[in-house]
Symmetry: C2
């Protein structure tokens, strides 16, 4: 399979998908805040992965139920409010939104039920959505979308919150395509490291095949992006297949394509994370097993003292050892080694010559930790902890 990744295209790159974004007035700023992704078919297969947070937003509760059918005709997404922790009335709002999308699509000529409409929301937790604006927006956006087959970028823009750039990518295989968009600049964490992602494909693939590809891909990408250890109430990743290419890829090829799209979106999320000044990859090698490699890498990726040192371009490797030493994993304190950007800073548990002079002034920092407890390895993507992170997050709801 020869593939080409293009970042100027997104969810409307595959055949059979329409999308757009509009300003519905949910955000006080008047910016784009409502997005629709519509699958024209002929197939309407879908799979989803959701936050593992016990506190699930109303749209997550709704979409999880919808996805049990393995079928989706449309996804409606809003920024400007998470509709999380809003009680039974918040769930009614989500339900009403899905009903309104179904009614508008039916009016437009595509008979649709609410059960075929997933809902995603992002923004501040705890407030009800302005439903008059949401419902008026739904009618408008269906008409807007009817205008053409493009609009992926508007949709990607309409789901932004503290993101500074829209995130989208398309992967063109020989005769079929996968496209995706993502948003999420904070609250990126394990158990699903992003807020909202929609991936589309014109491949012919049933729900089981989609589910397998999506689970494998998110496990190696979004689940391994950990910006601040926080995990959202709204995290959702959806994969929709139209079958419009009439090509049925092998499971292996579909897996590879979905993984590549998720990996690229993941890199875009990391690069635009709140307050990021360094893109950091923490790799743990020589672990007893992959799970322990992940646990150890995550412990380092979440350590505030490591993250602030990296912000200061300070090769303070002792903090890396202190962080990994508290992780519940097997390691050999007499042999453990650490390198920064390929330069050894700690060998056999003690400082290497020149360790304090390693130059970390660039934007990318690779941290490699070798535990000498086995053969497994894993990488977590994270960022530094900067003044800008503190600034942005100390004044978000106000």
């Amino acid at each position: 399979m020869t593939v080409k990744l293009v970042r100027t295209q997104g969810v409307t790159a595959p055949a059979g998908f329409r999308a757009t974004g509009i300003p519905a007035g949910i955000k006080a700023s008047g910016k784009l805040d409502l997005a629709l992704v519509f699958n024209e078919g002929p197939d309407h297969h879908a799979a989803g992965v959701f936050t593992r947070n016990q506190i699930k937003a109303a749209p997550v509760q709704w979409s999880q139920q919808v996805l049990t059918t393995g079928r989706l005709r449309a996804v409606i997404l809003n920024s400007g409010g998470a509709n999380a922790c809003t009680g039974p009335l918040g769930f009614q709002d989500t339900h009403a939104t899905a009903e309104a999308v179904a009614a508008a699509l039916s009016d437009w000529g595509t008979e649709t039920g609410a059960i075929e409409v997933a809902v995603c929301s992002t923004g501040l937790i705890g407030d009800r959505l302005p439903m008059d604006k949401v419902l008026a927006g739904v009618t408008e956006i269906v008409h807007e979308m009817a205008g053409g087959l493009t609009g992926g970028e508007e949709a990607a823009r309409a789901i932004m919150t503290t993101d500074t750039v829209p995130k989208q990518v398309a992967l063109h295989a020989d005769s079929w395509t996968v496209g995706g968009m993502a948003k999420g600049a904070g609250m990126l964490a394990p158990s699903l490291a992003t807020m909202l992602v929609v991936i589309t494909t014109d491949a012919v693939a049933g729900p089981e095949m989609l589910r397998a590809a999506l689970n494998k891909a998110t496990g190696r990408t979004f689940d391994r992006l950990d910006i601040d250890g926080s995990c959202s109430t709204n995290d959702t990743v959806l994969l929709l297949a139209s079958g419009a290419s009439e090509v049925t890829p092998s499971q292996e090829d579909l897996d590879a394509a979905v993984l590549a799209v998720c990996d690229d979106l993941c890199a875009q999320l990391q690069a635009d994370a709140e307050g990021v000044t360094k893109r950091v990859a923490i790799t743990v090698a020589g672990a007893a097993n992959e799970e322990e490699a992940l646990v150890a890498a995550r412990a380092v990726a979440r350590d505030s003292l490591v993250k602030t040192a990296l912000f200061g371009s300070d090769p303070n490797w002792g903090r890396v050892l202190a962080a990994v030493g508290i992780a519940p994993v097997a390691l050999d304190p007499q042999r453990i080694s650490v390198s920064f950007n390929g330069s050894p800073v700690c060998v056999d548990g003690a400082g290497a010559p020149g360790a304090r002079e390693v130059d970390l002034s660039g934007e990318d920092i690779d941290v490699l930790i070798e535990l000498f407890a086995g053969d497994a390895s894993a990488t977590i993507r994270t960022t530094d902890l900067s003044h800008a992170y503190v600034e942005e997050n100390s004044a978000y709801s106000s």
Copy 2:
């Protein structure tokens, strides 16, 4: 038992203890950097609690071995270098320090073996100590200490690193006393939430009685102080008993006195934590058991988004729910409630009227989370995440 807490006294408040601090030249700044606490007896009973980090500094490895005897005559402590991750040579340095203290005390007239001397170090991880200065300092400090029965405050000052004030306290019971000193302004975390603490008492108490009192006290105090989730390679808490009061308290009274001293030192550590602008207490109530209450409270206490919101005096309770929701504990999403400083902000999983207007501009913030899963509760002390924290920790080793 009637008791009185006095913060102007420390480890030399109980009878039978001498201490002092000197500038030995370990710190480039020329500030106090070497402390000695000496137990004149008649008893020399002791107990210790150490970091659970797998990467243990040389002085921790040494002192753990020493404490297996249940006996201590002296504790030598240095700031200006952690002597962690320094390999076999670093361990030899610790051993040589203990030998030097024993020799100097023997010269002075108190026959002492190295096995009766605990060693504590704090500072940057990864560098060898300047042993010429340490060993010269040891001789000097024993002579200095010989001068009088006070000196607790100098000792408390000599163990400071990024601390801005010395921390000490004495508890006077009817006819016996417990005194203590502590240092630690960063790397405060679970599994032992401080860097170095020495507690002294003139009560008559054997090693078993001391160990029981110390374990109970640290479990409820230092283990529940979590500033940044990081855990040091050097954390050490020591309790020494001279028996000089000739009073044998009940286990219950000793437990209460040691707990009160640890609790007060803990509050002092929290108040002087790196970059602190808010003292925050996270209480989880209605948990299935105490362990789950602790796990949930710790998850919230470590959440960067919660901590930055509190820095901004922002009653962003949704972040509290998102943080507790990812903790592996039983909770009822439909009933969970949160209050800030006694004002309900979330009731039955949804926002309470006026939640966004709760005033958090003061220096103390109490967060109460009720899970409705049982009757257990626990409190974790933490702080906000401020610009000053980032500043201080991005430029520590340089």
